[in-house]
Subunit: 247 residues, 2 copies
Amino acid sequence: MRYLITFSYDGSKYSGYQKQPKMKTVQGELEKALKTLNDNTKVVLNASGRTDAGVHALNQKAHFDLQIKITPEKLQKALNSMIPDTIYIKKAEIVDDSFHARFDVVAKEYVYKINLGEYNPIEKDYILQYNKPLDVVEMERALKYLEGTHNFRSFVKIDEEKESYERTLVSANLIRDVKHVNTLTLSFLGTGFMRYMVRNIVGTLIEIGEGKRKSEDMIPILKEENRMYAGKTALPNGLYLKDVFYR
Amino acid sequence: MRYLITFSYDGSKYSGYQKQPKMKTVQGELEKALKTLNDNTKVVLNASGRTDAGVHALNQKAHFDLQIKITPEKLQKALNSMIPDTIYIKKAEIVDDSFHARFDVVAKEYVYKINLGEYNPIEKDYILQYNKPLDVVEMERALKYLEGTHNFRSFVKIDEEKESYERTLVSANLIRDVKHVNTLTLSFLGTGFMRYMVRNIVGTLIEIGEGKRKSEDMIPILKEENRMYAGKTALPNGLYLKDVFYR
């Protein structure tokens, strides 16, 4: 039987999503619990994609096959009782044997949070501590150049080998809550994201917000299709995989 | 010269505010840095009061005397560069030699946060994970019985010896943000708080929110002046020392 789980985790407690020998990873913790549940037979977790060390997930999705029979409700409960409290299974469901959590993704949403106010030791692992004002109007303008279908090569990890760097950013928005004016939330809804893509976009946006670049600089950055033209990679602590969408 | 500092900290990273041998404490970390700054002469930090392990502070205050001469701005900067990133000095100022950070307190404000929604692994150390609905109308009603001057013996740590258990709760409110309906914030502004007082009030309020007790049960609980009549002590993770006020 194939199961799909929706889960959240505190990325600051893990060396990333993907399993690595001798490292504490989200996949490693989940596969360990699943193996125990599955009569001690190894279970391979197929996530919608990996998240890097320090990056959080609000609704990550993954599928796997079990040889035992268990209802989704019992599976959710059993898993939650076995995994660390920094991961939480929000939902479990049975899916068709042909379903694939990575190949069937039609869109993903990421958000990136920035604290423009005073340094906050309580939120240091959960919001980028920028701690200075930024020109948010110019940043919002810059985001609009990114919406649509583009070759995002300039925003991808320099040695990332892909067949195509073309992706569609359905929407890219800047949200500022009137009650928390110092918290900036950048949201990105797209058909696909490559490694470091959101963090490199955010790093470039911050340089625009600092006045080091102009919003319209996004045009040549995209056009050059070269990592050297974009800004620094923003820290992982402000990044959240918010949602994964399937057909 | 006597200095007053305002600082915030992530209580989940410390065994409480107060220095204890072989434990990582907020006072211990600050005194260690202050000693280095003060030509290696011991400095005693006098805080507005202690906070227990796991309890956070947004604006804790403490005074101390230094034998060296340093401007408040330089002191703030130097301290922040020496202490862990889970504590932050928000402000330093010079105060009169007669000022005392504990004895001169006229009021304090605490807030307690409760998540009524789904378990959130990202916020587990920062908001009580109650994860079920509560009767907030009844809880708000109960809070009103606590406002004013009362003997709070029933809400204080059972073996706490005090000359008087009478304190004035200037206001006790329940706040629910329309944007985050699942986050309940209880705020308490009072002239003085005793050990576990807020957590015992919150624990009792939760039992009222569960329907196990009625809001008007607050009357006999206060009247009995006996810890056995109040509810359980709520976990420390939702509690924040929000502010300390002086004349």
